[in-house]
């Protein structure tokens, strides 16, 4: 497993600058504009990094190389889910850090004080996106996966405002009780686990 994560790092090393670049671009794009910028910067950065990490494996049909290495296809999928969690943590925590700095240095932007709950909501959203994205990515061929990447980026951009509206409405309507949060968290975890098993099944029987 560690070797597969290391493999990702080596393959991505020349593109790693893109991840902080995402952070900067999304911060400039969302922080002055949106009250929900902490969510957007974290989610977009995490998911953008995830797409970067999956795309690197299909540029030259590299799955055909990876499956000849002494790892199982299940290991390859496991490593991608694990790296998705790492990207989610990085994106969301970096966004939290940036917003904390913005709060200190630019109080005139009137950013709310974000809490652990905001971090968890962002993480949950990334995990939901990953749970839908990874089975599709592994189910399709190189061309199909490229289309999936594009569709997800477009959907993310289009859905940003409606999602912000829904989150704020949910807050206003008092849907933020502890029991609701626990229920939603459990659902997200179950979705993530189910997605992992589906992806393993799809990739394990896929002809390359």
């Amino acid at each position: 497993m560690l070797n597969l994560l290391r493999k990702d790092f080596i393959a991505l090393r020349s593109s790693l600058w893109v991840i902080p670049f995402y952070l900067v671009v999304f911060s400039f794009a969302f922080i002055p504009q949106s009250e929900m910028s902490m969510y957007f910067v974290g989610i977009y950065t995490a998911f953008g990094s995830m797409i970067l990490a999956t795309t690197i494996d299909i540029k030259n049909y590299n799955h055909n190389f990876l499956v000849t290495l002494p790892v199982s296809r299940k290991n390859i999928v496991q490593a991608k889910y694990l790296s998705a969690i790492l990207y989610a943590l990085f994106g969301v925590l970096a966004s939290y850090g940036i917003h904390s700095l913005v709060n200190i240095n630019y109080p005139e932007l009137n950013k709310p004080d974000y809490s652990v709950m905001d971090i968890l909501i962002s993480l949950g959203m990334v995990l939901v996106l990953v749970s839908i994205y990874l089975p599709l990515f592994y189910a399709f061929s190189k061309k199909g996966a490229g289309i999936i990447n594009m569709v997800f980026m477009i959907v993310l951009i289009i859905m940003a405002q409606p999602a912000a509206f829904l989150i704020s409405k949910a807050g206003e309507n008092g849907m933020g009780s502890a029991s609701v949060y626990v229920f939603v968290s459990v659902c997200i975890l179950l979705l993530f686990i189910a997605s992992y098993f589906v992806t393993v099944r799809l990739f394990a029987r896929k002809d390359l």
Binding site: R6, I10, K59, N60, N62, V71, R205
Partner: protein, 288 residues
């Protein structure tokens, strides 16, 4: 002892089928896999290395089935292919850093020796390598983790004649200890005539034979003669036949029977592996 065992393996595509293949690849020998384009050689190799799955049948590699012992089997095999699926933006050195930790028996010294022997610079990016250089890199990787079984799909196709000879010598050295095995698909049949012990011949998704090379070349014969020797009975002796204005040349799969039928009226000689592919692919339909 067999390095690879296939039993009733079938894989069906919309326009092509690898049909009910059963075969053994003997341990300690070089087995050449030959056949015309589209015969199913690459499909067979992809099934052996686990890139694609058979619809039916079983494949045992080094005594185990891939789905039971995937990691263990892959530790013990080396794969060389003319298709290169490495990360093109990385250098040879970076690819080595990526690949080496996966193998328990990876030997850096051996790898560097092969890089020197193959004149590959570790600083070169994969995308800047020629097809031949990519095959050399792939070979250096396959030979650097003490693989017990080398599976090679068209490894000599992009190589110059000098390196092809060197490669064949290298493979011959590799099997000297009689525990290592090589399966080697190629169109360049002269390579196999030099080093193969066994020949597997596929045509139209079917295994035609898998036998000791010298036995095959003894069993088949090329017959050259005048057209008046051909009638419906004699034609049926030929796997494939080529007719010209001045006579015919055909491949018969029973040398003794051909000698009995044509005797001194025709010229019989030992075929090459290329003759086997040519006449088997063309059948009796070709008229020059």
């Amino acid at each position: 002892m067999n390095a690879i065992e296939l039993r009733n393996v079938t894989k069906t595509y919309p326009l092509f089928k690898v049909d009910n293949i059963s075969l053994d690849v003997k341990q300690g020998y070089i087995t050449g896999l030959i056949g015309p384009n589209g015969a199913g050689k690459s499909t067979l190799i992809k099934m052996i290395i686990g890139l694609i799955y058979p619809d039916t049948g079983s494949i045992k590699t080094l005594g185990s089935e891939m789905h039971n012992q995937e990691v263990n089997i892959k530790q013990r095999i080396g794969i060389v292919s003319d298709d290169c699926f490495y990360y093109e933006h990385l250098t040879i050195r970076e690819m080595r850093r990526m690949i080496a930790p996966f193998y328990k028996k990876w030997d850096d010294k051996t790898f560097n020796t092969y890089l020197e022997q193959f004149e590959l610079s570790p600083r070169k990016k994969i995308r800047d390598l020629s097809k031949g250089m990519k095959i050399k890199f792939s070979l250096a990787v396959a030979l650097s983790h003490d693989a017990e079984l080398l599976i090679m799909d068209e490894p000599t196709s992009g190589l110059d004649p000098v390196f092809r000879r060197e490669l064949l010598d290298l493979l011959a050295d590799m099997i000297q200890d009689e525990t290592k095995s090589i399966i080697f698909s190629t169109h360049i049949t002269t390579d196999l005539e030099r080093i193969a012990d066994y020949i597997m011949f596929m045509n139209q998704g079917k295994l035609i034979f898998n036998e000791v090379k010298d036995d095959v070349l003894e069993r088949y014969t090329i017959v050259k003669g005048d057209m008046d020797l051909l009638d419906s009975d004699t034609r049926s002796q030929f796997v494939g036949i080529r007719e010209t204005a001045v006579g015919f040349e055909g491949l018969a799969d029973n040398r003794a029977e051909a000698e009995r039928l044509f005797g001194n009226y025709a010229l019989l000689h030992r075929p090459s592996l290329e003759d086997l592919i040519y006449y088997s692919a063309k059948g009796g339909r070709n008229h020059a």
